[in-house]
Assembly symmetry: C2
Homo-oligomer: 281 residues x 2
């Protein structure tokens, strides 16, 4: 997905939000905003929006020396999600269509997104999403693809959400490669977060190598790209991965909650809708 | 009021909003955002936020050649307010405290603010504000000051709101100097708008000369400043005038609805509260 004009104020807003998480030094935050403001003119509008995230975090690191501003928050989100894991696993087991319920739960976990200026309440949001109608629901294609897939490449999104991904992965009943970001960015899941979420028990964890809060193929490492292009089924979680891969010709299933109005518009759905979209239609 | 870090993303957002009103040429809007972004580093944080409005509108004029992007909208807002004028005047006449009701109506008009990213419904908002409790209500000081004032300097804010100002002015029963902006900016009231609102029938209309969406004294003309410093009672409408004058030692009564969270915090009230605040306490 390309960058829209609406993304530009949002970049500045994100820089302010993460600046405040990284430091309480006002002058440093102002310097961050100065630098991000000056870079607006260099944004190629045909790049994807998460590529600006790379620039924002690079400046955060340069100015504050802090690599992972959301480290503690990510640990708290993983702990909260783990506390819900037994109950949600049980719910899946008891449901009429365990796979579909597990998909809903994986999407519910997508509310844990600190890149958005939206508060979330994990327990309440999970309850809502378990009842919510899908705006796009390519479940049949998902089931068919899964049946014949030798393995699944699963692109993780946020830490905490990763625990909910584990529930879906357990219900895929296929070998899974779980893909994490190359370095900490926003609250996106890294290898350390994936292990803390218990994903090493159910999947092979690999890094895409991306420094972006998204799977931006030209920023990914060769090892990941080899797996990505060889995969016969890809599950992509969240908005960032959608932004990076919406134009791909690979067999990707996008699972997300459309929290941003621009992404919602690109998908042809309303804000806050939930989506299971197959890219090849 | 000084500029806060939170104002910075808001400036970029305002630039996008007004850019889209002025033109549908995406490249021109991007150029506007490029230039506003590059100027973030030059913002002195001890300047008031509306001073950035001057820069944004200056760039709009340079890029698009359009001086008054909200001209048509201002005319529509004045027409809608004029259609409510007879009913609201009647309401004031029949009320127990006509002056206080007229103050409420003047504040209700302050919802017509196109500098804010908030929709408004004039009829509904007036109804709400007529019933709403004041977060700050220096009515007694207002009544006392009015009793002894030889004349009143009344700082207008938005076009349309200006019709509601007329109702208050009619109930002040003192000679009034109604002050408008020097040039069109956002939907702020200009001399032309004030005349279209019928204010020439009830007040002397003068321009402060400010190119800002606010009364920024160092940007005002001498003729206005003479009246401002000689005034024994000043009524200041809206957020912009508050931002410009919150530190003044002149006897100013601020009448506004706190639509911006940062201004609300500066006033010590909640967002969407209504305020009648005397600056000298």
């Amino acid at each position: 997905m390309k960058t829209f004009l609406d993304c530009i104020p949002c970049f500045v807003n994100q820089a302010l939000r993460v600046g405040r998480i990284a430091t309480d030094n006002e002058a440093d935050i102002k310097l961050l905003l100065d630098r991000i403001g000056s870079k607006i003119k260099d944004i190629p509008m045909d790049h994807t929006p998460p590529e600006m995230g790379v620039i924002i975090y690079d400046e955060i690191r340069k100015i504050t020396g802090i690599d992972d501003p959301y480290k503690t928050t990510k640990q708290e989100n993983i702990a909260e999600a783990l506390s819900l894991y037994p109950e949600l696993s049980d719910l899946v087991r008891r449901s009429d269509n365990p796979l579909f319920t597990a998909i809903r739960i994986a999407i519910a976990g997508n509310v844990i997104d600190l890149g958005m200026d939206k508060a979330f309440n994990l327990v309440d949001d999970v309850k809502t999403i378990l009842q919510q109608d899908f705006a796009i629901c390519d479940l049949e294609a998902f089931e068919q693809k899964l049946e014949t897939a030798r393995s699944v490449v699963y692109l993780g999104d946020n830490a905490g959400e990763s625990v909910f991904d584990k529930i879906l992965i357990e219900n895929l009943r296929k070998p899974v490669i779980y893909v994490v970001r190359g370095i900490p960015i926003i609250n996106d899941v890294t290898e350390e977060d994936a292990i803390a979420s218990g994903l090493d028990k159910v999947a092979e964890i690999i890094s895409s190598g991306t420094p972006a809060p998204a799977t931006i193929l030209h920023l990914c490492n060769d090892a990941f790209l080899k797996r990505f292009y060889a995969a016969d089924m890809i599950i992509s979680k969240g908005q960032g991965n959608y932004e990076g891969l919406s134009e791909t010709d690979r067999p990707v299933f996008f699972l997300l909650k459309a929290k941003c109005p621009i992404i919602a518009r690109d998908l042809g759905v309303n804000e806050d809708d939930i989506v299971l979209k197959y890219s090849l239609k």
